[in-house]
Symmetry: C2
Subunit: 174 residues, 2 copies
Amino acid sequence: MESARQIVTDAGFEALRTQDVVRRAQVAKGTFFSHFKDKDALMDVLIGERLNVLLDDMEAIPRFDTVDDLVAHSTPLLQFLSRDRFVFDVFLRMSGALAIEDIGDIATAIYRHHRILAGQLKDSPFRTDITTDLQAEGVQSFCINAVALSFCALHTDQDVQSRLMVYLNAWLCP
Amino acid sequence: MESARQIVTDAGFEALRTQDVVRRAQVAKGTFFSHFKDKDALMDVLIGERLNVLLDDMEAIPRFDTVDDLVAHSTPLLQFLSRDRFVFDVFLRMSGALAIEDIGDIATAIYRHHRILAGQLKDSPFRTDITTDLQAEGVQSFCINAVALSFCALHTDQDVQSRLMVYLNAWLCP
DNA sequence: GAAAATAATTGACCGCGGTCAATATTGCTG
DNA sequence: CAGCAATATTGACCGCGGTCAATTATTTTC
């Protein structure tokens, strides 16, 4: 883990090679794969811990007074995901899991994000015709969509935040 | 292309190997990669043509009278995407492109889907406080989200359609 | 403390995507 | 048709993720 973190710091997520990790950690390749199912599993942990740091900050917020407020407090997460296409791809790939036993850190972080959002939305002055759980699911869906479009050459007219703002105004204050 | 289609028909998208494609097509590996940037580019065409068949059907619909109607007519697309995890991963990966010149068939199909939806929503009896363009973007976002959750072991309580129904009722008829 | 059972580690090896210098084919021109 | 340029094709080769039988280390048992 320490070797992997160092490589990511030095050269970025995309440049990480299992060979380099094991060389740095002074172990054999097989040892790596006895600890991690595959390379994605390592990425899952690496990205998961980054997400959890950002979620720690987010958890401290009691509620959102406005949509602007929500978007502002979501910015660190959005920026982390939209900074690196490779990271976003791993994020999408690991966001769900076919079997309970391989639910990883990213998927867990997404549930945590959902719980945090739902809690905060409970005390926020938005629409009341749907549950805060559903509101939170929608917010997450729109966050992903906004980040995804930020990577698309045909959608360079808006940045992630302003796109999310439009979505969430329509979603939370119809 | 013909070789690739045959392999997919016989063994599925995930089992496709460039080696097998070139062997079947009686050409060398290098020839394949002079026609396609990488394997994903081939997948993009293969999946893109499937999507366009489904969109052809969808285009024939004039409008949606209810959310149920919209969901019902979206079912073929949803089922295609949620049938095969590998296909959905490629779909997500190819859904945007960093540069205009590598916008592929899947990304193009997504724009087509958006245009079709926006056109149909124009004549549909849903909310009028936001543009049909924005409505369509939201519908797409929720479709992706519903499919993504269908692959997640923690969300087996609902099927894709009923999940989408909940989303779209909240989105289009607030 | 020796022997047996269990667990951890190793690195040669494989499969597959992708590259590229060499070679063959085609098209063009006088 | 010869000669040249442009284009298409080839397959040996590379990098990297992942496997697994063999080996070494650790724990358990009597």
